[in-house]
Symmetry: C2
Subunit: 256 residues, 2 copies
DNA sequence: AAGTGGTCTAGACCACGGG
DNA sequence: CCGTGGTCTAGACCACTTC
């Protein structure tokens, strides 16, 4: 009837985190201390901490301790995002959105040219192994890694343009594509929870081997072809995607 | 440098599952047997099995053994679904979609009247604690529990209608609402990975305490008010939601 | 009764990071 | 150097299912 010990211990710590007794960034008692406090073996303590690690509530650092993670979930309006911020660069749009939610964002950009994987080739409709441009953005929120965003472009579009340069494009890649004659008309998003994360993701996003990730795979089209593939990998929980469909203008007008 | 033992053992079993040596539904060797085969302690074996359980690849049944789960991911077209199947009941629409993907679906329906939780009240815009109608559908795919779908309706809409009856509505609840003067014009979907599952979810969906779930929370509106809240809980991985936004008709026409 | 997974103990050695 | 978390061992008792 009663919950096992490791679940009770996990529950106590979870409560402390949600209640604020153990604020984000603070260090938990060491495993040795928890062993003594609860009068259980270290195995049981580690079983409890394992649960919280999988939930993304804590992360462990060898030789340094166990720490409470930031947990305010991030909300992303996935159907309005680009529409509203079409004028500015993706960087600025993202920053504006996050700052509007009272968060402090930061990011890094990297450009590579590499052969398309099967997943990339299928969505961009290029031959497998054909070269594509990858623009990788690693995003941090409130000092903790939050998402990994890889944007892929077919070589015949990107070659010789700003897209194939390792710098932020001030006026946004949407506008650059538009100037090149590629007018985006819509996109398809695929949402896929996945486990386990790749080693690279675990490293970049600071995830344990048992933490899930969420793929948000956006293929953007002109009326002729796919022109952009944006592959977002979100860290475990702590993300909330919102899609608005149909025509809610009438409803919104009614509410005013 | 080398991966720890439990990860190597998990890797071998994972390979076997993906390679087909261990087909879905088959039973794994007992923990005792794995202990002997790999020359490790039972703790290490259980650590390995714990990884696979979290990944949703296997599930354990006390006293009976450890079994390989179905893993063909289910794809749901979340922006086209209701549009295409508007005529028929949700049950039939879902069944048709699954059968088109070569799966064998089954489901059970249950109706309850209960006070709105805070989350339900906020989305349906009713007072907290006000009575609402809940229609719960538990869906199985290929014999395994796949999703839990709770649909909520405000009492002033549902009272005295088929919606407040514990039976499938042949012509679909969309049509019933329409006949009652509530014409749906759009919806907002919220996608939220969450951990851990509630005890109820763990029981219904056959999940371990470390497996993630995905909430798909759909609030449907007329041009005046929210009329329906559909709260889908998907089991861990094994789900793929697809949203299509913008106008891709021109692109599709071009492809023909 | 026998076999299974679920829980728990009391140790051990290691690599790593910080004084 | 010492303390930390990471890995691993060799047991134990239990509840439950199956025969």
């Amino acid at each position: 009837m009663a919950a096992p010990l490791y679940r009770r211990i996990a529950g106590e710590l979870r409560d402390g985190i949600h209640r604020g007794t153990l604020p984000p960034g603070s260090r938990l008692p060491t495993e040795q201390e928890l062993t003594e406090q609860h009068g259980v073996s270290r195995t049981t303590v580690r079983q409890a901490l394992g649960l919280l690690t999988n939930e993304g509530l804590i992360s462990t650092a060898t030789s340094r301790g166990t720490f409470v993670r930031e947990l305010k979930p991030l909300t992303l309006y996935a159907s309005r995002y680009e529409r509203e911020h079409r004028e500015s660069s993706a960087h600025d749009a993202w920053r504006a959105e996050l700052e509007a939610q009272g968060r402090t964002p930061s990011q890094s950009l990297e450009m590579r040219i590499l052969p398309a994987s099967q997943a990339v080739a299928a969505r961009l409709r290029v031959g497998p192994g054909e070269l594509v441009v990858l623009r990788r953005v690693v995003r941090h929120v409130d000092g903790q890694p939050s998402s990994l965003q890889d944007s892929y472009y077919a070589m015949d579009i990107a070659e010789g343009t700003e897209i194939a340069s390792p710098h932020d494009v001030e006026r946004g890649t949407i506008r650059v594509l538009s100037e090149l004659g590629h007018e985006e008309v819509g996109y398809i998003d695929e949402i896929v929870p996945r486990m386990p994360p790749t080693d690279e993701e675990a490293r970049i996003l600071d995830l344990g081997p048992g933490v899930p990730v969420l793929d948000q795979i956006r293929t953007t089209y002109t009326d002729k072809r796919p022109v952009r593939l944006t592959w977002n990998v979100w860290a475990g929980n702590g993300i909330r995607l919102v899609y608005e469909l149909g025509d809610l203008q009438g409803y919104y007008a009614e509410q005013e």
